[in-house]
Homo-oligomer: 345 residues x 2
């Protein structure tokens, strides 16, 4: 079934997509349906705002990304930014620009992914904009969240001797992307061939349905640990470490052997003949949390599940370096994905 | 001079555009440079959020819209939404997607327009996203503002016998667009002809450099008037009146003779052989304020400069109607601009 968007019009489409949306958070006072949403945050909260613009052909390829997954991921990447401030996401606005290629059913799929993510993370959809595009799909999501006053964690608070911690594992979302890109190429050549992803489900999931680390933020609060600096890993560990060190005016030492890598990622890197550490350092789209804690928190943080200590912060003149398994020191480089570069690598 | 955006990269471009941005509002605690912006709103304020996504070829035509004007207008339309809630805009996030056609200098122009609007209206740029696009330019702005608790004005509060008021004049931005479109066509045919806009500056200004009615909101507060309902006129008076009546469960009577129309708009409509009232009712992009006040405020509102009483709210069963100069009654129709319709009219 294919219903043309033009048959509903802008207001009709918005009504159709949003008619049964309920507001669940106390801070969401009035949602969709007026010139602006109305929020009420108590005085003891800081209000956090993060925004992301995703463009078809640049950030996603609809040949292999299902619209529902795309919607889920578009919401998650924004939630991740709010968690990375030691906060909790509470509201989003969703703006979509659609070309005529898309039907009402397509947008329902996309929206159902966004709504699923919101339900999962306790976030309300409070507004947005829906319009047309001459080519392709554009998704702009703004996320509003809250943090306890005085508990916001910035990128600029890392101190000499702090421990560097990372959640989950790295490089798997990137390997998932490589896998999808390869199967797309194979598929183009020979129509009979069906992509075989057996045993590689984890990599695909990391690429197509990432999660934001709400659980880590909750664990940190429970363990009474306030990181000195934190950010989420979207462009790759190297790039993010360099941001923290630059903004905190420090250096760092990261140990190759401690970087958490999943078994499937390692197998895939071997298959693709890629350097595994490079994938983990520069892959991007991990949406894991990178944070630093005072050395006094060593024991507490060591006991946390799913957290790895990968190195420590140093004085700025020592630079930002990776120590390899054989003890060599290499300066970190931000080779993360650059959407404005002339070509994608 | 043309500097390629790729030569700076994403972070370089963001640094370049935002390095000297200062935060001036008390509620802006931390701006660009982390995973999210941090805002601090006191408990006696409601937080307002509005968002807009503008796509090249759909919302603007760079053949005749200078980038600086585009930036200014993109910010203004968001401020207008916040004023329309009886609030004041305080922060925006700016997301841009750029194709390779654009140089660093182009984006500086665009950004300078956004910054000029922010300076004019006392708004801080606190975040955003800059990325690439396969085709054209996309601009997504989210505006955060504040209103005194209990003073937010929605669309759904209009009551039977309330007076309907409108600021400024209507249809001029639409006539400005017609003028620009005509000159574009003329220009295409004959390169020697330079567009002649003498005597039509007001129409162009209304289209290319609209203002948000901050002054009206301030006047209302001064006169101690809280409208019962309010919205800004972006899709045309008819469409907006129908929103207010639908959401307030009322009808309305609007008098053709009272609709404020500028002299230049009338002259242009004559020249284009267009129905003037239709232009004023359905033109769109006026960014004037439409609001209702109790009949008891008649004297106070009559004394306000730049406000016209155009009719009154009725019981719902009387429908939404226009009374023409010769006393005939016509049902209002929302013929406003529909960016999702099959063709633009």
């Amino acid at each position: 079934m294919r219903t043309e968007i033009a048959s509903l019009g802008e207001f009709g489409l918005i009504d159709h997509l949003t008619k049964d949306i309920e507001l669940k958070n106390e801070s969401s006072k009035y949602g969709i349906g007026d010139d602006a949403a109305v929020l009420e945050y108590p005085a003891e909260k800081e209000v956090l705002v993060s925004t992301d613009l995703l463009m078809e052909g640049v950030h996603f390829d609809l040949t292999y990304v299902p619209l529902k997954h795309l919607g889920y991921k578009a919401a998650i990447v924004n939630f991740s930014d709010i968690y990375a401030m030691n906060g909790a996401p509470k509201q989003i606005t969703v703006s979509l620009a659609l070309s005529k290629r898309f039907s009402v059913e397509d947008i329902e799929e996309l929206y159902s992914g966004i709504r699923m993510a919101c339900q999962q993370y306790g976030v309300d959809i409070v507004g947005g904009d829906t319009t047309s595009s001459l080519t392709g799909l554009a998704i702009s999501i703004t996320c509003i969240g809250e943090a306890e006053k005085g508990k916001v964690v910035y990128r600029n608070g890392a101190k000499d001797t702090d421990l560097i911690c990372v959640s989950g594992d790295l490089g798997s979302a990137y390997m998932g992307l490589q896998l999808l890109e390869r199967e797309k190429t194979v598929f183009k050549g020979e129509e009979q061939v069906q992509p075989d992803f057996t045993g590689k489900e984890y990599l695909l999931e990391r690429q197509l349905k990432p999660e934001a680390r709400k659980d880590i933020i909750e664990q940190l609060a429970k363990a009474n640990i306030t990181p000195t600096s934190m950010m989420d890993i979207s462009d790759g560990l190297s790039s993010e470490l360099m941001h923290i060190c630059k903004q905190s005016n420090t250096g760092c030492r990261v140990y190759e052997e401690h970087i958490p890598i999943d078994y499937q990622t390692a197998v895939m890197a071997e298959e693709f003949n890629m350097n595994l550490t490079t994938c983990a350092l520069n892959g991007g789209e991990d949406y894991e949390l990178l944070f630093t804690v005072p050395i006094a928190d060593h024991e507490k943080v060591s006991q946390m599940e799913g957290i790895r200590l990968i190195g420590h912060i140093t004085k700025p003149d020592l630079g930002t370096a990776l120590i390899t398994r054989d003890g060599q020191e290499f300066e970190l480089k931000a080779q993360g994905w650059n959407p404005l570069a002339d070509k994608k690598e």
